[in-house]
């Protein structure tokens, strides 16, 4: 794989891993409507991941037969769902990250047509994801005493994972929503986790991959 492909692999792995995390909510979300909403977002992310992985190589080989240290997703994407507030704040962070990625790729004259196609489709999908996650953050943060406390807890827990994905545009997007949600945004220069770019991941990714990859590894090449 050429070095220039590495950012695309980071985006693809981020979408793939986050998609899997969201799919873990299926049948467990707070309401049936939200269950389907999270499922829709998971499927959008899966489609985006597939589009980029197909560009980078054999999508099944890349998704199912790499080990954790070969994945390049930001740590944020692999973190456990936690409670609904954790999932929603994680999604807000990720949606803001993807918003910058897709608009940059769509405007990049140097990317190939297939990648630009993925980006142009993803811009619309991401716009809805952002609307969903930002609306929920405001509802929860500016909601009841309990929902505010849980969402602030989620924000404080996830803020250290912004380092790999944050840009000035990311901060302004996210901070605007957090302010509207009456949450206390930690400082931009607060400590952050190290990057996963060199293959270091949290312990959580291995368990996620074990579930995601076990079928394909037990039955290589299986179709249905």
């Amino acid at each position: 794989m050429s070095p220039t492909s590495e950012p695309l692999l980071t985006y693809a792995d981020g979408a793939l891993v986050l998609s899997h995390r969201l799919s873990e909510w299926m049948s467990n979300a707070p309401t049936m409507e939200e269950d389907i909403a999270l499922g829709n977002i998971a499927l959008d992310l899966l489609g985006q991941a597939r589009g980029l992985l197909q560009h980078l190589g054999d999508e099944d080989e890349l998704a199912y037969f790499r080990d954790a240290q070969e994945f390049r997703n930001p740590l944020l994407c692999e973190l456990p769902n936690g409670d609904f507030a954790h999932t929603i704040v994680r999604q807000l962070f990720a949606d803001a990250w993807f918003a910058e990625i897709w608009s940059a790729l769509a405007a990049d004259a140097d990317v190939t047509d297939d990648v630009r196609g993925v980006a142009e489709k993803a811009i619309k999908e991401n716009a809805y994801h952002w609307r969903h996650s930002s609306a929920w953050v405001v509802r929860l943060g500016d909601g009841t005493e309990e929902s505010h406390r849980r969402t602030q807890d989620a924000l404080d827990a996830l803020w250290p994972y912004r380092g790999e994905i944050a840009s000035p545009a990311w901060y302004s997007r996210v901070e605007t929503v957090l302010a509207e949600a009456t949450l206390t945004t930690p400082p931009r220069d607060a400590w952050t986790q190290r990057s996963s770019a060199d293959g270091w991941h949290s312990e959580h990714l291995g368990y996620l991959l074990a579930e995601m990859q076990s079928l394909a590894r037990a039955h290589p090449g299986a179709t249905w």
């Binding site: 409507e33 939200e34 389907i36 809805y128 609306a135």
Partner: protein, 94 residues
């Protein structure tokens, strides 16, 4: 969640030019969430180009026990159907 969120009736227009049709209902705390939930639940397969949501409590329904007096008198009025007219050959668009 101890109390159910309010119920909203969902209407979709499948194509421009057609009218909205009732497709089901969703729970939501307000109108904005009702539109979002309707989008997520009822337009996953490209079913719609427009969504209406209406609080279910705002729907006024006829009483099922009134159906004899409301609907039965129409059953034997076959002349109300437009099947008794000969359409002249010169009339287009019918």
């Amino acid at each position: 969640m101890t109390d159910n969120w309010p119920l909203w009736e969902v209407f979709l227009r499948s194509r421009n030019g057609l009218h909205h049709q009732h497709v089901g209902s969703v729970h939501a705390v307000d109108a904005e969430m009702a539109v979002a939930n309707a989008r997520d639940v009822y337009t996953r397969r490209g079913e719609g180009v427009s969504i209406w949501v209406v609080p279910s409590a705002a729907i006024v329904a006829s009483d099922p026990s009134d159906k004899d007096e409301l609907f039965e008198p129409a059953l034997d009025k076959v002349y109300r159907h437009p099947t008794f007219y000969e359409i002249p050959d010169g009339v287009a668009n019918i």
